[in-house]
């Protein structure tokens, strides 16, 4: 049992219904997250990264989000269609979540000690006093100096980085098996970003949990994740170990992302490379490759219904039928060469 994945998402499709319009937000998303692993979900804004996280947490608006197929299994238990009351017992207890904006993810009217203790008291049958002791312990764990006196601080008295540490303390207060970090460093200064990522990596090892790290920053992925998934328009287009994907990008979109990274010798002080076009509106199901209209490698076959994702090598899958051409083109890329 302990070798089975902590999180299995299988064939998950999800739609939003608003004002008679349907948005196909996730299309047959499947992935596994092993125990003790950091898996990164990469993609641009609106590609479905956060929706995936919210679906796992059961935080999607009930009125208009509908899971049309698939399962989300936490240690073997399906979370799709689980009664709200059972879901509440899982949130914060077995899955913790850290959000993008630490400036607004803490309640301004309560002290941080109270907010961490609330998480403890909600799930563990402990006294108020013990919950506060745990809160203090958590502040120590997330390396907030002088934890004892900071317990009674209000969120506005803390910096962005400290607030994110408090948010992490809240998410981890009940020792969850899985931490979902939804762009945890996007709103922070670059120097603070590194500290927070390091903290998450350290805590992962210390507490033996698994991390689903959602980001749009390939640098973050390279620094922290074991495996990565590239997501585009609600689909996972490439998946594999981080070093394999950087060394052998096998999807037109992954190639586009890598080429957009600034700071190559070729484009120093030059124009930044971008991916032409915009993300498609997901208001109708797409048969072929969703990325084809923007893809530099696209050919006629890309519009046809896609074959199942092909295995590039063990653990490395790509949905791209032009993966050979992509790699041939990318093998001269500076980043790819540095990882090869």
């Amino acid at each position: 049992m302990s070798h089975s994945p902590i999180l299995e998402v299988d064939n998950l499709s999800l739609e939003f219904h608003t004002d008679g319009r349907t948005v196909y937000a996730l299309d047959k998303v499947s992935f596994n997250l092993a125990r003790g692993e950091t898996l990164s979900l990469v993609g641009e804004s609106g590609c479905g990264k956060s929706v995936t996280a919210m679906a796992v947490m059961g935080l999607l608006p009930k009125g208009n989000a509908r899971i049309t197929s698939g399962n989300i299994r936490l240690a073997g238990t399906d979370l799709v269609g689980m009664p709200e009351r059972q879901m509440q017992a899982i949130r914060g207890n077995r899955i913790g979540m850290v959000f993008q904006d630490p400036m607004s993810s803490l309640n301004p009217v309560h002290t941080i000690g109270m907010q961490i203790a609330e998480a403890v008291q909600r799930h563990k049958h402990v006294s108020r006093h013990d919950a506060w002791a745990r809160a203090r312990q958590m502040l120590d764990l997330v390396r907030i100096p002088d934890a004892g006196s900071r317990l009674t601080a209000y969120p506005h008295e803390l910096s962005g980085g400290q607030r994110q540490r408090v948010m992490i303390a809240m998410a981890l207060a009940c020792d969850p098996e899985l931490l979902i970090a939804d762009e945890p460093t996007t709103a922070l200064d670059v120097t603070v970003q590194a500290q927070i990522l390091e903290l998450i990596a350290d805590l992962k090892t210390e507490l033996g949990m698994s991390v689903l790290l959602i980001t749009h920053d390939l640098g973050v992925v390279a620094a922290t994740a074991d495996r990565m998934m590239v997501m585009y328009a609600g689909r996972i287009v490439e998946e594999g170990p981080v070093e394999r994907i950087f060394a052998r990008p096998s999807h037109g979109y992954t190639a586009g992302l890598l080429r957009s990274l600034p700071g190559h010798e070729s484009q120093r002080r030059g124009v930044l490379t971008e991916i032409a076009g915009t993300v498609p509106r997901l208001d109708r199901p797409v048969e072929g490759c969703v990325y084809a209209p923007r893809c530099a490698f696209a050919e006629a076959g890309c519009g046809a219904p896609l074959p199942p994702a092909r295995q590039i090598e063990a653990g490395h899958r790509s949905a791209c039928i032009r993966e050979a051409a992509v790699f041939a083109e990318m093998s001269n890329n500076e980043i790819v060469r540095s990882w090869a």
Binding site: I90, E118, A173
Partner: protein, 291 residues
């Protein structure tokens, strides 16, 4: 700038208070006024004689030592009636503000969290708000027995929908805030979620609206007394005094002026404090005025 300030020794509470008073004279004056009215209402028996004693021989007598604001058409002490009238106004104003807040917040939070219940509640408030508040209050007052409680209830009912709408719209906004999602993500739900994470963040606008409800309740109670609905005529109230004075308006306009000025002062003080409160709770404005 904050660096400089932290190095300066903290000013004493008194000098900070004086500094505040110098920068916000209107707030301080209104607070003092409200406090004065409150003290007058509480200590009315010490300040004035019997407001009920009728003395036809002395009717419409001009100001004298035993009745410094003169006497009305039944020979009653106008000053005593004005002083005791403060009680009715304050009692009605504050009771209505508290009741409106309690009911308005409870119903408003429900309406903000339950989509179907919310729609029903909103249509009901729409219907109630289509009828002028005073008209509705008169209708309710005439349905019940005369008395202070009747007046309070009759004024509260038409005030509640306004509060409900406000609370609902604030709750709809707060519910979307990330910290509420974060609270749900640690497993908080149900009543604790509402009580700890949604309610406290609606407090600012609710407080401001409560002051406006208080002011409008004071006016409404005067209107009801003036029209002779609700309180029985011998009970001293500013509205009732104005109704009595109306018959003598040509000859003794001053009798109308006393309760009128007091009413205006009280309502003005409450309203200005409400405005100041709303400014103080608005982060951007309060930073500018250094509150």
């Amino acid at each position: 700038m904050s660096v400089i300030e932290t190095h300066r020794t903290a000013p004493s509470p008194v000098s900070r208070w004086l500094d505040y008073a110098r920068r916000n004279p209107a707030t301080v004056i209104c607070c003092a006024l409200l406090l004065a009215f409150l003290l007058i209402a509480i200590f009315a028996p010490l300040l004035a004689g019997d407001p009920l004693k009728i003395n036809p021989a002395l009717r419409l007598k001009p100001p004298s030592d035993d009745a410094i604001w003169g006497r009305d058409h039944l020979g009653r002490d106008v000053f005593a009636r004005a002083i005791y009238g403060t009680r009715v106004s304050m009692l009605v104003g504050f009771s209505v503000a508290i009741l409106v807040t309690l009911f308005g917040v409870a119903i408003g939070v429900y309406a903000g969290l339950s989509p179907i219940g919310g729609a029903v509640v909103m249509r009901l408030t729409d219907a109630m708000m289509a009828i002028p508040a005073v008209l509705l209050a008169i209708a309710f007052a005439s349905l019940m027995n005369a008395g202070l409680l009747t007046v309070i209830i009759a004024i509260t009912i038409p005030e509640v929908p306004r509060m409900v709408r406000l609370v609902r719209s604030v709750v709809l906004g707060v519910r979307q805030q990330l910290h509420v999602t974060a609270a749900i993500s640690i497993g908080t739900s149900g009543l604790p979620l509402v009580w700890r994470h949604i309610l406290p963040n609606t407090l600012g606008p609710v407080l401001v609206q409560a002051t406006y409800a208080c002011a409008s309740a004071i006016i409404a109670s005067a209107v009801l007394s003036f029209l002779g609905v609700g309180l029985s005529p011998e009970v001293p109230s500013w509205g009732g005094m104005m109704a009595d004075a109306r018959q003598q308006f040509r000859i003794h306009p001053i009798l109308m002026l006393y309760p009128g000025v007091l009413l205006s002062l009280l309502v003005l003080a409450v309203n200005i404090l409400g405005d100041r409160l709303s400014d103080a709770l608005d982060q951007r404005k309060s930073r500018r005025s250094g509150l």
